[in-house]
Symmetry: C2
Subunit: 348 residues, 2 copies
Amino acid sequence: MPKRARQAGNAVTILDVARHAGVSPMTASRVINDNPNVGEAMRERVLASVKTLGYRPNLAGRSLRTSSTARIGVLYSNPSAAYLNQFMLGILEQSSLSGSQVLIEKCSGIRSQRAATQRLLDAGVDGVILPPPLCDSAQTLQELDERQIPTIAVATGAPQEGVGSVRIDDYQGARAMTRYLLDLGHRDIGFIKGDPKHTPSALRAAAFFDTMAEAGIQVPAEHVAQGMFTYRSGLAAAAELLKRKRRPTAIFSSNDDMAAATMAVAHGMGLRVPEELTVVGFDDTPVATTVWPELTTIHQPVTAMGRTAVTLMLEEIRRNRSGRPKAQVHQVMKYTLVKRQSSAPPAR
Amino acid sequence: MPKRARQAGNAVTILDVARHAGVSPMTASRVINDNPNVGEAMRERVLASVKTLGYRPNLAGRSLRTSSTARIGVLYSNPSAAYLNQFMLGILEQSSLSGSQVLIEKCSGIRSQRAATQRLLDAGVDGVILPPPLCDSAQTLQELDERQIPTIAVATGAPQEGVGSVRIDDYQGARAMTRYLLDLGHRDIGFIKGDPKHTPSALRAAAFFDTMAEAGIQVPAEHVAQGMFTYRSGLAAAAELLKRKRRPTAIFSSNDDMAAATMAVAHGMGLRVPEELTVVGFDDTPVATTVWPELTTIHQPVTAMGRTAVTLMLEEIRRNRSGRPKAQVHQVMKYTLVKRQSSAPPAR
DNA sequence: CTGAAAGCGCTTACAG
DNA sequence: CTGAAAGCGCTTACAG
């Protein structure tokens, strides 16, 4: 067989190193992996060959043999399509970078949730990431805990004992937004609450009331409406707030979908935004830049949160495999107050 | 120690799939890699087994064997955030599955476009995918062509010579939607055109007018408005159409953002949708299911189009590497007419 | 301390 | 259209 010269891409292998150093591939491998059971003379010869040949281990070969590809499950129920897209983008980016694999399962009811979890476990996942609203499902969390599966809850308002989490500080975010409205000069500020089943809802509302109280403002009941985070519920809530006798000059909606609905209602009543009514949201989902005027809102780095969830998960899995104890990392990401065209000082 | 069926990390391999499907590992491999040389029956059996067992290829094994990681560039300018998220999801899913790398570059003006292309080339990409609206940029296409880089244009209305494409049939989609409105009983149908710089705009408009003409209806000029695909332009266009003396009973908007704006305007005029006005869109982006009532629209399988773009690109790269001639595949994906709550027969 | 053998999961190249 | 064989680069498990 004709000897082939080394082509581009035809890289130096551990066999080349071994041959060059005059040792077996095993000895070369041991040296490269810092295994202590190697004589000093051999070690030096191998290291010299590594350097001369410019050897870099092929990670595919190594990981194939050690088979340490992590499998990460993502279990979701029914978040908004926009949110999930952004989130999965981060998950896939990071998993592709780290060479880990991602399995995605969707569930609707509680029964299907059980089945979906089972499918993930059958597929051999090493850990499960839970985007909202599943991040707060007591049932799901308990089931994963019983099976000792490392779990990371994303965007929960109430990080649990024994489960890692990635989130923003909803309280501080809502506080910053309320302060911003106060600084613009607004005093009559309406608030649309989010779905009470989602843990961030209470935090956002509490921050609003606390910050208003600190400014010496008692928020009248007629300035508060209950929403469910959907556009439809936002239509009803905004109509309620805007029909009241004492109309607010600004409305702080607990998420962007409801804020978009609020703008539609205001528009319908002939109110110009932001000249006659300031409308702000929370989350900075794609709808915030779809509507016009574009929404002032609190940006959640959803894609980055996906990346971080994978990173934390990988650390936890490694810890798990090497028998070290759980770490339960809680990563709090930075939110940003994004000022766009839907907010302005009150008319006077 | 109790025997566990499948331990965490003890994953399903292609051998398991082959055994389960009763075929050789090679056939399983072919199906998984979309190799066309497989009988339909075998393909289906293997795909079923893949699904049942939850098989995901081990990238280490694959890349060890193929040892040729393809690099795919994605160059985009300013599509809507929602669209890009959906699209990138498909890109990353498929690239992760195939073990290829994805490099993403954003550009704004023409100058930055040149620089972005250069960065991709410097990074050694084997091909470039162009989502809209760059898919139609003569400048970008020419520059890539000059450098002989395999290119795939996504969602273009005018597939070019020498460039692969992934798209839906915009003409047929708009035709199907127009027929649907006619079948509901609408005769006075308004139409909002899209940005004339985007190639699908003309196709969607032509299909509308042709189909109306076939039904014996001459669309009056006052029933047509020009939009730019943005929500804002939709607000203006809808206001225009709805203020005319002879008000249409239905409005077909060239995309969802403008349809959402149309609903907001209708809502503002006290018109109930769909009882007093039917509103339909095109694309099925996340906003279609955010607004209320949810939009009847033409679904574009954006995520699947991302996956397909990667698959085609990989084939082209392989062809390129093995010295075979260019193939210039044009893949037309299936659209779906999704009926939701924004459409109904005209009131009478 | 050192090495020969085997195999991780996958796909190329060949044969039918 | 389908499959048996071989091997990508590395390291585990065993034997000396």
